[in-house]
Assembly symmetry: C2
Homo-oligomer: 173 residues x 2
């Protein structure tokens, strides 16, 4: 069994989703939540909240692998910069624990879960619910996106294992 922590980084809210992947590839929901960063007094303090929250979750749930969304670059430089800060702080927190990190583009996540790179958020969240048996569970949007990236990592790793190539190589295709 492998425990995967997915991160959907954001400077206002960062989504966290944790799943367990069994040897046969079946995925089970473990935990999901959004770290809300808006209460902090300034932007550095927000990044501090993000790191502390993420560290507490890493400590509590002990994931073996981490998956994170890459940034969709159809954004202004200002929002890219803010998002970059959050993503950099999250990556730094993960890397200092020497956890392996895999990065997935939003298109690839949609492709992997819905079968179409242009799928909308509602479809992705629907598939997250379906795959993890969460039909009646309320899921915060960022937490659902974090579960989606964790599921994508599980699928890509399984596909890679079957075809004998590394997941890193798969992502480049």
């Amino acid at each position: 069994m492998t425990r995967i922590l997915g991160i959907d980084p954001g400077s206002q809210r960062t989504g966290i989703g944790i799943i367990d992947v069994a040897a046969d590839g079946r995925c089970a929901y473990v935990h999901a939540q959004a770290l809300v960063l808006l209460g902090a007094e300034d932007f550095p303090a927000r990044l501090g909240l993000l790191c502390e929250g993420l560290e507490a979750l890493l400590e509590q749930w002990q994931p073996q692998q981490v998956a994170i969304e890459t940034v969709f670059m159809d954004k202004s430089a200002t929002s890219a910069l803010k998002l970059g800060h959050a993503r950099g702080a999250a990556l730094a927190t993960v890397v200092r624990r020497h956890l392996p990190v895999s990065e997935y583009a939003p298109r690839l996540i949609k492709q992997s879960l819905v079968g179409r790179g242009a799928a909308d958020k509602v479809q992705v969240q629907h598939m997250v619910r379906l795959l993890l048996n969460l039909a009646d569970t309320r899921l915060q949007a960022d937490a659902a996106d974090a579960l989606a990236v964790a599921l994508t990592h599980a699928h890509m790793s399984a596909t890679a294992a079957r075809s004998g190539v590394s997941a890193a190589l798969m992502r480049r295709r």
Copy 2:
């Protein structure tokens, strides 16, 4: 005496400059270097190197205050994003040690050291050398910029103390 650590964040090289400020406002050079991040195998690993290097320096030199350059936004979204990652990782490392962080815009740093917001890098580095008695010392460019932001923080704090307003308030003027 107050020890200030200045950071000039970058995703390839991050400059670090440390100075001591005496009660009378005189500044003395303590240490400066660039953390070179290019050797890492991927981008998350680079951020890991940045955090480890910065943490080692915080541990070794025990600064009481940290000053960091804000990002000059006349950049592409792609470079803003990369720079944001580096800056976010650096800020996260500092904030988790509960050190107070002050942010200064490049224009304000130039204004503070050279007297003109449009001063060029050579002039800024010249003033860093002059103020810290480093006439014959070779300074790596990013390290010099980090010393410049540390000196700016020292000047702004002194001005703020004299006029009875906080440095945070000064920066907003």
